[in-house]
Subunit: 364 residues, 2 copies
């Protein structure tokens, strides 16, 4: 069972292949590589598992590789340089292709390297985590972190092709699987209540990594994101809905130190906080808040921010997030399960209540 989605972005359109055992299929790569030189970018965790398979599939090309350390804490300009060093040392030219083999961090960094090397070369994404398969591989956002903010340095750069091999999810640890489910749940909340209900019915199958269930969840998530991105490639409008939970979440990731909370975990807590804030305005009912919290908890995801982040630190970090406009915080707030809007006219006292709720009583 293999699915193909086509992301329609004019001359930057590309296919997303979803299914088991795809990494070994040369014919999926070949049409998207223009030159002879291919640089595989991976990390120390993923390379031992899948690098040989990918090298075999690309044996016709002049293959080189660069293996990065694994973790969000390495997603920065210094580590990015290692990719540029490898490209220059191997004399890669403008017709080369960069292949990203790994999760979201590898994809974001390899993608930004591809966007910037010689002002733009091709790249192909081979996402090996659920999070990367349902989120990072669709939409062309690439970049690295700055100590003061997540994803602050980057580019929009679409891949030539995405190959989401669902067999790779069998080697994912449970925590990483759950983190990916957070982004899957997000699509249900922002635009599809039926899908949310399907997730409530199928969460146990997902957690057990049932192949058909995974493929359906990935395909539906990619399709949902693809529709939104095709309508708004550069995030001037509707695309901002994809940031549900992300302004809270990025603050958690930055405050706790990149790599301590997984991105999906921080987004899960952020989504629960967005639901809470929306309910405090009376924009949705407590039962919807509870449904979301219950589903996230069923997926072993956090629904509260860590107590050590003060409300003031939260506000400071949220104010620096990319979604701000002239200092004002903009949040994605659901008005029911299946619908949300971008909002800057929320009540700041209610936001403070949401932020303080996480704290132990003694600090509140």
């Amino acid at each position: 069972m293999k699915k193909i989605l086509h992301l329609d972005l004019g001359e930057r359109s590309y296919p997303i292949h979803i299914g088991p055992d795809l990494l070994s299929l040369s014919e999926l790569y070949q049409p998207h590589i223009r030159g002879l030189q291919v640089m595989i970018v991976s990390n120390e965790t993923v390379a031992p598992l899948y690098l040989d398979t990918v090298r075999d599939a690309l044996a016709d090309f002049q293959l080189e590789q660069v293996i990065l350390p694994d973790g969000e804490q390495y997603k920065n300009l210094d580590i990015l340089k290692l990719v540029f060093d490898a490209l220059l040392e191997k004399r890669f030219n403008r017709t080369c292709c960069i292949v990203a083999l790994g999760g979201g961090v590898v994809g974001d960094m390899a993608g930004f390297a591809a966007a910037s090397y010689q002002r733009g070369v091709d790249f192909i994404q081979l996402p090996t985590t659920l999070l990367a398969q349902v989120d990072s591989s669709v939409g062309g956002k690439t970049g690295v972190n700055h100590p003061l903010g997540k994803n602050m340095i980057g580019a929009f750069h679409q891949p030539r092709c995405v190959i989401a091999d669902t067999s790779t999810l069998n080697t994912l640890d449970d925590r990483q699987l759950s983190a990916g489910i957070a982004e899957v749940v997000k699509y249900g909340i922002i635009q599809d209540e039926n899908f949310f209900s399907w997730l409530e019915d199928n969460m146990e199958h997902l957690l057990q990594r049932d192949s058909e269930t995974l493929i359906h969840a990935i395909e539906h998530s990619c399709r949902c994101k693809a529709d939104i991105v095709a309508a708004d490639e550069r995030e001037s409008g509707k695309r901002a809905l994809l940031n549900l939970g992300h302004t809270f979440g990025h603050a958690i990731e930055t405050a706790t130190g990149y790599g301590n909370w997984l991105h999906g975990e921080a987004v899960a807590a952020g989504m629960a906080m967005a639901m809470d804030l929306s309910a405090r305005h009376g924009w949705l009912g407590d039962e919807d808040v509870e449904r979301v919290r219950r589903l996230l908890q069923q997926a072993h995801l956090p629904v509260e921010a860590p107590a050590e982040i003060s409300s003031q630190q939260f506000l400071d970090l949220m104010a620096i997030d990319k979604k701000t406009v002239d200092g004002g915080i903009r949040l994605v707030l659901p008005d029911k399960i299946g619908s949300a809007r971008v909002c800057s006219d929320f009540d700041h006292r209610l936001l403070l209540q949401t932020l303080e709720q996480k704290l132990p009583l003694a600090d509140a």
Copy 2:
């Protein structure tokens, strides 16, 4: 006397203002700044001369500044980080505007920072060298150097507006003025023999910084480049002609250490070498080679590469240049003054003769 050119690039179109005493005119900046936050990027040489004027013109905005060290040797990722640090420390958001006040290095770095910060913010260029006014400010090429190659990391990112204040050329040292003239001469060679003849007649006025002569030369050069860029924004075809002398020149800059030869000086030697190579093929006559050498020498520019670069080193560096395709060197070779073509079918033995010509006889 003030001129306005409009670079026509669809939704990325922008005006280029050329004339004396323009930096103080608020009304030239205002229409192109969407938000409240403006970051001026300049260098230690230019800031003491013009920063106050620019700050006064932008007094209505939340102004911040970052002053970089001056020189091509600082055009790298480490120095670029200083710009990102400043933007994040001052909590600049996606509606901010970066203003580049300086020569080509400042423009390239500030432009790349603008391309990458939060995946793209606005920028305005205030070029203060002749080279930047006739070359770097038109076309949207931004980027930094890598130890192994010039401009290897960057982006295409168009400014919102260019303000080329010709009064700033009065403070330029003679060597920088000459370096800019190299790029002016280039436009004559690649597509306009009449302009080349005009330069032969007016070189002394240019060197004396006669205002009208400078304005004409800048306007004509920008118009020439604008026409080429509008036809081929991402350099898939005709735009490559603008690289006349640059493959040789980049090799000289990289081999001698960034900052020792000015970019325009390296390009001048590179253009003379391209003429020489073309003549060796019989594609143009010795008298054209001589006319170009004479005009460059009249502008106090070098017409030969430094003797310390061996032919092998030259070939190695040229092979890594962005203009290569799958290992083959592509060169821009004139077939007369006023016309050139991109060429990969040249005779490599003749290229070696051109490269060896620079060496003292003992080494040849």
